[in-house]
């Protein structure tokens, strides 16, 4: 069975390493914070000016002056720090934030990502995504493998305006975990419980490498 959004977040959480500073995008990536394994210390960066972002506040304790990049009210962990937007992106551009997890509309074989614009239809802006994908050492994408019409979003070439090129390292979809190979193309790493390799192959338009037995994710 395909993963739900929570499971995608759970699976991505296993990629987070002890001591990392992590930026979580809006949507599924935000959920990753809930599933960091015990013993793994990470600090979450919110590009509007927080390092050490904590969970949502208790009701009645919301502070309009303390929000995350998704404009949600949040709290601070012990040791947190607040700063301006230039300092925030100095952290990002300077590769001090080691891991970026974000959503995508499309990813291509060479790791290009499109997630900010559908020409003539939807233009929300790129926000901090272009800085993030141009900078972080490791970029993991959380996304659906195909759109509602069943068309693959894991492509040979992106069709939508790009957010960044040659940057995505790993993709976790509702069907599979894929690595983006340095030489281009996707490599199947794991499959969702009960999802066959054939199913994933069919849902992937870009070149897919399958080597040996592909393990099933365990939750």
């Amino acid at each position: 069975m395909a993963l739900n959004k929570t499971q995608i977040a759970q699976r991505i959480a296993r990629e987070v390493k002890d001591g990392q500073y992590v930026n979580l995008g809006i949507g599924i990536p935000t959920l990753v914070a809930n599933y960091i394994p015990d013993g793994i210390n990470v600090e979450f960066q919110s590009e509007n000016g927080i390092l050490g972002m904590g969970p949502f506040p208790f009701e009645g304790e919301e502070d309009a002056d303390l929000i995350n990049a998704g404009k949600q009210t949040v709290t601070l962990e012990k040791g947190a720090v607040l700063f301006d937007s230039a300092t925030s992106f100095a952290m990002i551009r300077g590769q001090h934030v080691q891991l970026t997890i974000l959503g995508a509309m499309e990813v291509s074989e060479r790791g290009d990502i499109a997630n900010w614009k559908i020409p003539g239809r939807m233009v929300k802006g790129m926000g901090g995504a272009m800085d993030l994908v141009a900078s972080a050492d490791n970029i993991i994408v959380a996304m659906m493998h195909a759109n509602k019409a069943g068309e693959s979003k894991i492509l040979k070439e992106c069709t939508l305006p790009l957010t960044g090129v040659n940057c995505v390292k790993k993709i976790v979809t509702d069907l599979a975990v894929l690595d983006v190979l340095p030489q281009g193309g996707f490599k199947l790493i794991e499959r969702a419980p009960g999802v066959s390799v054939e199913e994933i192959k069919n849902a992937t338009q870009g070149k897919l490498t399958i080597e040996g037995d592909i393990p099933e994710m365990v939750f």
């Binding site: 919301e62 929000i67 404009k71 233009v123 802006g125 790129m126 926000g127 272009m130 090129v165």
Partner: protein
């Protein structure tokens, strides 16, 4: 010997604003926006302006109020997703829009204030943001040349300020305010609390008063929350 930058109210603070000018407005979403200055721009019906602001408010608050009245000719922003009227005006071509990466926006404002006319950044390389911009490789990685931004007026909002124009922001209401304060030819700061020079700790000031030309105590802050997210106790 400290400077005295205090003006009586928002009307005086906006002395000299004119149609067609370029404004910078601090804030991220509705957090840390100069509510009083925006209200006064609405009241005066200043129009044909270019606004540099990370977001464009929501339909009925923040810069959305100016959009609603068609006072804005051009927006320079990074994310405008919370504003239907914005999207409508942009897609119909009524509104000029320059969307730029958030980090580049912040750095371009800082550069404008810091006398750095241009700098290289990797953000946006290979995307439409890079169109028409110089590309240069550093350490094997392509970067694009981005230029400084400045404004006729910068409107910023701080938590505390003193009579010499020194400012302290609260939490994430800081965001773009410090860089925009640097980049305004005239920077107008509205603050929740205004104290005499000497009362703020000199070691703990976020925006030095040299960047601020006028300061006043703002009134009636609404501080609307866009996404009120909470967790359950227990």
């Amino acid at each position: 010997m400290a400077m005295y930058k205090v003006v009586a109210n928002v009307e005086v603070a906006l002395d000299g604003v004119q149609n067609g000018m370029t404004f910078m407005l601090g804030g991220f979403g509705l957090c840390g926006i100069p509510e009083n200055a925006i209200a006064e721009l609405v009241r005066r019906r200043i129009n044909g302006v270019t606004c540099i602001s990370n977001n464009a408010g929501v339909d009925d608050f923040g810069l959305g109020l100016l959009l609603h009245n068609r006072q804005i000719k051009k927006m320079i922003s990074s994310y405008v997703g919370e504003n239907d009227e914005f999207e409508r005006q942009m897609l119909s071509g009524e509104l000029e829009v320059d969307l730029i990466p958030q980090g580049s926006l912040a750095e371009r404002c800082r550069a404008g204030g810091a006398g750095i006319p241009a700098f290289y950044t990797p953000a946006g390389y290979g995307t439409e943001v890079a169109e028409g911009k110089e590309v240069r490789e550093f350490n094997g990685k392509p970067h694009i040349l981005e230029s400084a931004l400045t404004a006729d007026f910068a409107f910023v909002k701080a938590w505390k300020g003193d009579t010499a124009g020194n400012l302290i922001y609260k939490a994430t209401a800081r965001n773009f305010n410090p860089m925009m304060a640097m980049a305004g030819k005239i920077t107008v700061a509205e603050v929740e609390e205004l104290v005499p020079a000497g009362e703020l700790d000199p070691n703990q000031i976020h925006t030095p008063g040299i960047f601020v030309q006028r300061i006043f105590k703002g009134v009636n802050y609404e501080k609307r929350i866009e996404q009120r997210t909470v967790r359950q106790r227990g």
